[in-house]
């Protein structure tokens, strides 16, 4: 668990660096080509309608939220599956095989 969190912190730090790099790249280059699709939010209610409206209103916020949700969910699912894997009773902290 601590290892997962440590890994998440390291990834978070690197992500910040990357976001800065990406922001610099966007500032330097021409505007990115977007697909012109407007999500039809009339068919939905609740969170899905909100999600589609966010997509329609700002691709930037939509992208920022996506890259926040994905690693967050990765950590949550990782910790959960880690918990179940640990129940099997195998050694999950070291590997005996040491060769090329």
């Amino acid at each position: 668990m601590r290892q997962t969190l440590r890994c998440a912190i390291r990834l978070g730090g690197t992500l910040c660096l990357l976001l800065w790099l990406q922001a610099a790249a966007f500032a330097a280059g021409p505007a990115a080509e977007k697909i012109v699709i407007v999500a039809d939010s009339r068919r939905f209610t609740g969170w899905r309608a909100w999600w589609m409206n966010l997509y329609n209103e700002s691709h930037l916020w939509f992208a920022l939220l996506t890259i926040t949700i994905i690693p967050l969910l990765g950590v949550i699912l990782g910790v959960l599956t880690d918990f179940f894997m640990a129940r099997i009773g195998i050694n999950l902290k070291s590997r005996v095989l040491a060769e090329h």
Partner: protein, 356 residues
């Protein structure tokens, strides 16, 4: 049976969600085992499930980032991730990838980009497959010769040893990479990552397929460390790619989340399976995966060259890729089960002998 389908908010298509979970599970296992994102496997799979092509790549990259994060955390526990090496390589990967993307835009302007990219991809895959199998054959010959001479086979012996020559280039700063057990100039991993990033950018792939063998043969990482460190790279570049594709409106987050549920289980199985397989065992199956990928590219090239046969070869390529995903994930799952069973039996035996 309507409950088995879910409407994607952005693209508006109905998708069979258990298919997404199964696909995530399969590529999760393969990714955790070989240290790659597996974009070449996921995209045709998503397409079969009815995903519009424009959303397939972005969705795949988004799920890949989350899945690789889970695998990286697990590999880190086994001591398979060299973070220092990974962080140094990120700068090269990102710069190379951006330059590759610029080259591809230039190629698009002069036309025929698809054919050039596919032929380039094919050449690269053939080279990687040749490299992997030459290395395996060389290592076997070395081991045979050692046994014939009455010497013991070295655990750390390798077939192809290009990295040893590259390590002799000592342009400062020279760094120690403890986990990988190597000492080399910082510029070696930087240039390797720049080159692999450049190729990934030109070919429009995640890069794990190229970076994993590059880490082994050029940087000199042991197989397990190459897998773990590459997954760290895939997680980072995946997040970068997810941000970029989502900004361009090409990601269906709901599908990525559903896939991630299957992938989180698959990634754990694939990663734990590496505990029970020797480094060269991983290399053999990696080589098989590369050959499968190359054959699917050949099918796509034939489909593009002969429009009358287009449907046949397109379908054949998809069947081949999905068949390969099924076969490889089944192999990994069997190795996982076998390894777990043996480890638990050994544990029980030790407890039993301790009690006596």
């Amino acid at each position: 049976m309507e409950w088995l389908y879910i409407t994607m908010p952005i693209s508006g298509v109905d998708i069979f969600w258990p298919g997404l979970i199964i696909l995530g599970l399969g590529v999760g296992m393969i990714g955790g085992f070989f240290g790659m994102g597996g974009g070449w496997m996921v995209t045709p799979g998503l397409n079969i499930l009815g995903f519009p092509m424009a959303f397939a790549v972005g969705t795949d990259i988004a799920h890949m980032a989350g899945k690789s994060l889970i695998s990286t955390a697990r590999h880190a526990r086994f001591g398979n991730v060299d973070y220092k090496l990974g962080v140094i390589m990120i700068a090269g990967t990102v710069t190379g990838f951006e330059l590759g993307a610029q080259i591809i835009m230039w190629l698009e302007r002069i036309g025929k980009v698809d054919a050039y990219v596919r032929y380039g991809y094919l050449v690269l895959l053939t080279l990687i497959a040749w490299l992997v199998f030459t290395d395996i054959l060389k290592k076997r010959r070395k081991d045979r010769e050692a046994l014939a001479a009455g010497r013991q086979v070295e655990a750390l012996s390798t077939g192809i040893e290009w990295h040893k020559t590259l390590h002799k280039i000592r342009i400062p700063p020279v760094l120690d990479f403890t986990r990988a057990g190597i000492r080399c100039s910082m510029w070696l991993p930087v240039s390797v990552s720049f080159l692999t990033g450049l190729l990934a950018g030109v070919l429009g792939i995640g890069g794990g397929l190229i970076r994993m063998p590059a880490l082994i043969y050029l940087v000199g990482c042991p197989t397990h460390v190459a897998v773990g460190t590459d997954l760290f790279e895939v997680a980072i570049s995946g997040l970068y790619g997810a941000g970029s594709y989502t900004y361009k409106g090409r990601t269906e987050l709901l599908a990525a989340v559903v896939m991630l549920i299957g992938a989180s289980v698959g990634a754990q199985i694939g990663t734990v399976a590496t505990k029970y397989v020797k480094g060269y065992g991983i290399r053999v199956f990696f080589g098989v995966a590369v050959i499968g990928c190359a054959v699917s590219v050949v099918f796509k090239l034939i489909a593009a060259a002969y429009p009358a046969w287009r449907l046949f070869f397109d379908v054949a390529a998809t069947i081949l890729v999905l068949g390969l995903v099924a076969a490889l994930s089944l192999y990994i799952f069997i190795r996982f089960l076998k390894g777990v069973r043996e480890e638990l039996a050994e544990k029980r035996r030790l407890v039993g002998s301790g009690a006596r």
